[in-house]
């Protein structure tokens, strides 16, 4: 289940189950969203992105859902594997200037054997 840790909310799932990581974004004008995965000791890695003219996009084992009405973004990971354990960040982008990339605080995904 979900819990709020010292700094990061944590989601624990059993290996093989599906994971859903949620993100609330702040700006209704945001038109581009990205999910990043950051493993311990590494920089964030791009997972999947979605434009505001879409509400769903699928990749390999991952799906991003966008609900602009409630400004909510989710990342679904199918058949979660131990290698999926990491911190996941959502990012919202609006306008064309670098200052308008806003990253969420991240969610730590812990995959249990």
């Amino acid at each position: 289940g979900e819990s709020v840790g010292l700094h990061l909310p944590t989601l624990s799932v059993q290996e093989g189950d599906n994971s859903i990581i949620n993100c609330a974004y702040s700006n209704s004008a945001s038109d581009y969203f990205i999910w990043y995965k950051q493993e311990s000791g590494k920089g964030p890695q791009f997972i999947i992105d979605i434009r505001s003219n879409m509400d769903k996009r699928q990749g390999q084992r991952v799906t991003v859902l966008l609900n602009k009405t409630v400004k909510h973004l989710s990342l679904q990971i199918a058949a979660t594997q131990p290698g999926d354990s990491a911190v996941y960040f959502c990012a919202e982008i609006f306008d064309n200037y670098g200052q308008n990339f806003v990253f969420g605080p991240g969610t730590r995904l812990s995959v249990l054997p």
Binding site: G5, L6, H7, L8, Y32, I34, Y36, K42, G43, P44, Q45, F46, D49, F89, A91, I93, N96, Y97, G98, Q99, F101, V102, F103, G104, P105, G106
Partner: protein, 113 residues
């Protein structure tokens, strides 16, 4: 190179000293970003370079922080008179153009004693 590279990977310095962090973006990427990530926190935007335009420095936390990007490629982030609160992981990212997918380097872990 194949990806964004950063050096050094780790830096330990004494309070009051100056440090320089280097970023080599992906060849051909016109946009370059610097971020800071404190332990357990999300990514804090610092500065953004796009082509030959004046950089967006709005995220720099104080005038002790500065960055350059020479020849539209390599970037150096300089922190003068370092303080203990500067301890963090400094991440660099590049993208082909603005508001496109950002690719992150491995980061420089800075510890100020």
């Amino acid at each position: 190179g194949a990806g964004v590279s950063q050096s050094p990977s780790n830096k330990v310095t004494e309070k009051g000293k100056d440090v320089e962090l280097r970023c080599d973006p992906i060849s051909g990427h016109t946009a370059l970003y610097w971020y800071r990530q404190s332990l357990g926190q999300g990514l804090e935007f610092l500065i953004y370079f796009q082509g030959n335009s004046a950089p967006d420095k709005s995220g720099l936390p104080s005038d002790r922080f500065s960055a350059e990007r020479t020849g539209g490629s390599v970037s150096t982030l300089t922190i003068q008179r370092t303080q203990q609160e500067d301890s963090a992981v400094y991440l660099c990212a590049s993208s082909f153009t603005e508001q496109e997918t950002q690719y992150f380097g491995p980061g420089t872990r800075l510890l100020v004693l």
